[in-house]
Structures are given as C-alpha cells and as structure tokens.
Symmetry: C2
Subunit: 331 residues, 2 copies
C-alpha cells in the first residue's frame, strides 16, 4: 500500500468511467495525496471543461477545508483562477498523480502545466508523457516530477485518442445476455442505456447495418441524456429503406445510406451498432468492442458467430449490468 | 475520499480474491489506516491460518517500520504472540476496517476480538456483526467500535458461509468464450485453471454430469496446485461408465455414481462442473455461478440454453480472463 502504483490505479479507474466521453480529448484521471492520505480522485469528463488535474485539486481543497466550492467546477477558467488565488503554499505538501502528462498548451482551457508549476506541489507523478508533440513539454516546466508509473495501463487508456489522430476510431457496441444472446431487450439497466446515449452524443457518426434498421426500426437518438442525436450512416448494398422508420425523422440529424467504408480513413470517432452481419462486415476495421452484459441466461436463439481475439481492457458495473471494454488483437 | 466506505471497499475487494478458498470459514477482508493513510489491506486465505485482521496488522507493522517479519505470518499462534509482544501503544493511532465482526471464540486460531482488545486500536469499524450466535459478542469486548459500513456488500460476501451452515452451498462453474460458447479449451489462462484447482482442493465434493464424463474423459484433479483431488460424485441415471476414464484412477479419492441429489441437504460445499445438461438438471439447486470468460469470440456451436436470472456479485481478472461471480435470483 501507499505505493505510486496504488494511487495511479485509482486515477486510472476513475478515468475509465469517462472513457470516450471526453472525445476529442483523451481520458485522463488524477489523484491528489497528502502524506499518503488520498485527498481526491477525479477524471476529465467532457472536452472544453476542466481537466482531471484541476478537478482533483479543487476536490482536494474541499477535503482539506471540509467545505464546498460555490462556483461551477467544470468552468476551467474559473477553476484555474480560483486555484491560482490560493495562498502560494496551499498545496506545498501535496503530490498529484496524473495518468497523462499535464498539457502545456492553452486551448479551450488554460494550460495545466502552468497551473501546476505555479502551485508548486511537492511532486507531480505521471503515467506517461504526452505522445502528441505539440502538447508535450509539460513536465519540463515542472520541478520534482517522475513518470512511467503503470505506463502500459496509461497507454491503453489513451489508445482511442492516439487512433483518432490519424483515422477513425471504431467502437463496436453490443448488448448481450451472459450466454451470448443478442437482440431485443437485453439492455436491462437504465444506466447502460444512458451510457449508450452518452456515447451517441459525443461520436461523429453512428454506423449501423441496414438489416438492423429494417428489423428493429430504431430511433437512435439520445433521449435519456437530452443530447443532440448523432448523424447516422446506414451501411447498405442498396437503399430500399422505409423512410417511415423513426431514425429518419429525428430533428437536426443527417442520415446517409452508404455502400463503402472510405469515411473510416478520416480522423473521427465512429460508434457502430448492429448484430452479427455488421460485426462480420466491419471485422477488420474494429478497434475496440464495448459489451454490455446483462445478468441473465436466455433461451433466445439469436446469437453471433464470429472468430475474433480480444483483450479485456477494463470492466465495471452499470447498475446490474457488466460493462466490458476490450480491444481486437491479431491472431 | 478518506471515507469509511472507501476503506471497507478495499477490504471487500481483497476478500473476494479468496472467496470460497477459506471454506469452511467465511471470506473476510481488513484494512488498517493511520490518520487516513492506508497501511495494509489483507484477507483471510485458508481455514486454520491467520485471520484477515491479523494479516492486516502484521502488514501494517511492516509498512510503518519499513521492514519484513521473519516468521510464518499464516501461523496464527506465532502471529498473535508477535502482535501481543509489541509496545502497548504501537497501534494506538491506527484504525482497522473489517468486513465481518472479529471472532470472539477460540478455535483453530486464537480469538481476534481478544487480540484487538489488547492492542487498543483507535477504532474498530466492521461491516456486519457475526450472524453465527456462538461467534458473536466480539464487538462487545472492544471499545470505540462502529458497524454497518457497506452492510449489504459485506452480507453478500459471507452468503456462502451462511448457506453451508444449513445445507450444501452449490457453486456451478462454467468456462466460456465471450459469446457464450462452452466446451474444450476455453480456459485459456493458467491462472483460471489454477483457480479451478484451488476450488477443487477445498470443496467437499465435485459433482459432475455423466455425459461430461463420457465425452471429456476428465481427470478432475488438482495438479496445478498439488492439492488433494476432490471426491467426485457422477450424476447418472445408470452406471455404464468406462472405468478407464482417468478420474477413476486418481489416488486417495472416492468416486461415487449417484442418481439422486439428497446429499445436497447436508451442510457442505459442492462444486459442480458440467454443461447444459447438468445446468438444467441442477437449476433449482444452484446457489451461485462462477463464470470464467475468455477474451475470444468463437464460431464453435456448443453453447448452453437455459432461462435463468442472475445477479452479478463481483468481477475480476484472472490473467487474461474475466472471472464473474453471480448468484441465482428468483423471477
């Protein structure tokens, strides 16, 4: 206990809760400690809002002073200003563990490296240095730094971010019973459905097979999160689709019927929903799979047949369901 | 952070690593803290050896003094004697979180309640009080106690123990691909196989279907753990089994061919291995299921068809595999 790995793992687990929801930013987590006590564990939640380090420092402030801040903590400008106005030695005995090197550039939010430099923490420990050249250099601006803690896990965490720098990051989403049956009604928990709607709300396009559209006649909106419904691409050999299917009527969304997958060359985040047919058609293009597994065994005979090797990356609960993140690996 | 729930959850997670392996004892975990710092997280591992509290206190000693003890920490008598010989105020500022009330009776190991009483910790926080009357009363012998932290999770942890007080606790074990295919070769990781052999080593009997015996011709021993092979009960309508099947030749094990399940009325721990047939035959008797899920999708067409409602209790990794603990719930 009391090890670097333990504190970094807490930051990693928190970051996974917001995996992909931070698009186009990477998922990042942070833990603040004081003499071995854990003051806070936080993660970046949404692009354009406060980064993990900032949220963790605000929460550490609240833990230390047994108080609650009274402004919007997700407003990065307000949050930075608040932290910079604290007495200079406020965090002098604190250390921060961050899964990714603090950003050194100023984008929608101020630079975290500048902030941490001004706050003069006891130590800044990072999992990996920022692999994007224009973002790196954060560590050089800081004193008392170390890096490389749980390096492989921190790299796995930002793999989607690395992929969507160059091409589409393709996530295949599937909901199944524990004995691998798919089809109607397997997303038993509201929490799982809400998570799907959060992903739909941040992706660039939702890609779906024509057969699923014909059979399920879906809406594919984000009604559980009140989010903007995603643009939809329907993968079909020929466009014979009934325009009465609800997805065509959702406001402020484009629907395109496509017969080739060239758009996957473009940097983007593509969410794929579908069954066996789509899984087979997309197999060589799938980066990660996200499986929501419900606590049921079923005699429903709709399943999916495919040979594919995966690596489990992270697993958690969404209410009663399991949520299993995995990546496709070669043979 | 720094909450009772956080420290208790660490103890719970550690205890789940040894779930059922402590038979006939319950699984128990413990966390020791000092001013909010986590000094140790430990769990009871095997009946007849040191309890969770004792292992956690020994580890806390090591963390504080940056040293390593030089005796067998699993020898409860040595461990108690060592802890009792420490300066009286050694743990005076430490608190301990235990998932279950410390035992007040002296069995194979000395009483933990007596030990904690003598060590005069700052606080003893327990998840639940001991539900077995002859074991309870531990808290009454201690000062500065609280109970009821993560009560439901702590109750779920010892449910097998509660069941095997009265009748057989029946665990159905299954290994499957992520799309629910069973049969040969799905336990891909050595760690999962080793865990199965650990369970075989502690259960009272391994119950298996005649069909699996005929088809797989298994050995059903504990060769990965060098443990004593379990007694085997083969559930068969008629005994036409080939005695050349390896399981019959394992030394110091009894094999019985049975046609009824009355033995499940006896307090015991019964591990069930088998496929769809055995799952259906046993359905009304199954308490928990343990599924080892491998990171593969497969076109193998051997699966299992059954309607059953589960509740996921705990999930973890065994090397590359997922290990999913669940209990059967009514409709």
């Amino acid at each position: 206990m009391l090890t670097d790995q333990f504190y970094m793992q807490l930051a990693l687990d928190k970051a996974w809760e917001y995996q992909l929801l931070t698009y186009p930013n990477p998922a990042v987590g942070a833990t603040v400690t004081l003499n071995g006590r854990i003051l806070s564990v936080e993660a970046h939640r949404k692009a354009g809002t406060s980064h993990a380090e900032v949220l963790a420092l605000l929460k550490a402030y609240e833990t230390l002073l047994k108080t609650e801040i009274d402004f919007d903590r997700f407003d990065a400008h307000k949050a930075h200003a608040f932290l910079l106005a604290l007495p200079k030695d406020f965090f002098a005995e604190c250390s921060i563990y961050v899964t990714l090197e603090p950003c050194s550039h100023t984008g929608k939010t101020p630079s975290c490296a500048s902030l941490l430099s001004a706050l003069e923490l006891k130590e800044v420990i990072v999992g990996i240095e920022d692999p994007i050249e224009s973002h790196s250099g954060g560590l050089e601006r800081l004193k008392n730094t170390r890096s490389g803690i749980l390096k492989e896990k921190c790299q796995a965490l930002i793999k989607p971010f690395m992929i969507w720098q160059k091409k589409a990051f393709v996530l295949f989403k599937l909901a199944q019973s524990t004995n691998g049956r798919i089809g109607g009604g397997y997303l038993s928990s509201k929490a799982s459905l809400t998570h799907v709607h959060q992903l739909r709300g941040v992706c660039d396009s939702l890609l779906i097979g024509a057969n699923t559209v014909r059979v399920d006649r879906p809406t594919l909106d984000c009604r559980f999160t009140n989010g903007q419904a995603p643009d939809v691409k329907i993968y079909a050999r020929r466009d014979d689709l009934d325009r009465e299917i609800p997805l065509f009527s959702v406001v402020e969304r484009s629907v395109e019927v496509i017969s080739n997958l060239d758009f996957l060359k473009e940097p983007s985040f593509i969410l794929v929903e579908g069954g066996e047919g789509m899984l087979k058609a997309l197999q060589s293009r799938i980066d990660w799979m996200l499986i929501y597994q419900t606590p049921k065994l079923s005699t429903n005979n709709l399943t999916y047949n495919i040979d594919m090797n995966l690596q489990f990356l992270h697993q958690g609960k969404k209410d009663v369901d399991l949520m299993i993140w995995s990546r496709q690996v070669g043979d």
